[in-house]
């Protein structure tokens, strides 16, 4: 059983499209995160939710909108995709904020 699962694993799409990435965790954790990993492997936090409430929102364009329907799910919707959005997006979860994080396998987004 995968602890933190993301879908899809790969996403190839055209500039200007809207797409979503889904994340689910079955660890019973309260806190979930989205990270972006760029081509130089640098990992940067985008959002963090604790029990469905947004607690961290780093400097991310408004085109990115996270949605947490319940504490086990944190989805990422991206509008009007741009070339610079090409990256690997990782979802993670932790029991509480500031505790050890467990990562999904990532979603590789490629914008044509």
């Amino acid at each position: 059983d995968t602890a933190v699962s993301q879908t899809p694993k790969y996403l190839v799409t055209q500039m200007g499209n809207d797409k979503s990435i889904k994340c689910e965790q079955n660890l019973g954790h309260d806190t979930m995160y989205w990270y972006k990993q760029d081509s130089k492997k640098f990992l940067k936090i985008m959002f963090s939710y604790n029990n469905k409430e947004l607690i961290i929102n780093e400097t991310v364009p408004n085109r990115f909108s996270p949605k947490s329907p319940d504490k086990a799910h944190l989805n990422l919707h991206i509008n009007s995709l741009e070339l610079g959005d090409s990256a690997v997006y990782f979802c993670a979860s932790s029991p509480q904020y500031g505790q050890p994080q467990h990562f999904g396998d990532g979603t590789r987004l490629s914008i044509l």
């Binding site: 492997k41 963090s48 505790q99």
Partner: protein, 105 residues
């Protein structure tokens, strides 16, 4: 915000060698984590180590929070150890830039 620096940026080893990876952070922390990103891109938890020393097989880690650093030791390295090693201050969700390790057979 807190700064996290890792060294060296790149490391090439012969199989069987030992290595030490370093993580420095700019302020006192109490929740440091080490990860291994394997060649398939998966981020694997290695240690959650706010302070002290932990061991898991050939890997061990030590954090000296008062001196603002953590070390990851890899002994008798294997080709499967290749990948990028990250340290992170999880309360700030700040990652270092990583150490890329290549272990040659």
């Amino acid at each position: 915000g807190i700064q996290v620096e890792q060294s060296p940026p790149d490391l090439i080893l012969q199989e069987g060698a030992n290595s030490t990876l370093r993580c420095n952070f700019s302020d006192s922390v109490n929740n440091l984590q080490w990860f291994h990103q394997n060649p398939w891109g998966q981020l694997i938890n290695l240690f959650y180590i706010p302070s002290g020393t932990k061991q898991n097989g050939r890997l061990s880690a030590t954090t000296v929070a008062t001196e603002r650093y953590s070390l990851l030791y890899i002994s008798s390295s294997q080709t499967t150890d290749s990948g990028v090693y990250f340290c992170a201050v999880v309360s700030d969700m700040r990652f270092g830039a990583g150490t890329r390790l290549t272990v040659k057979p």
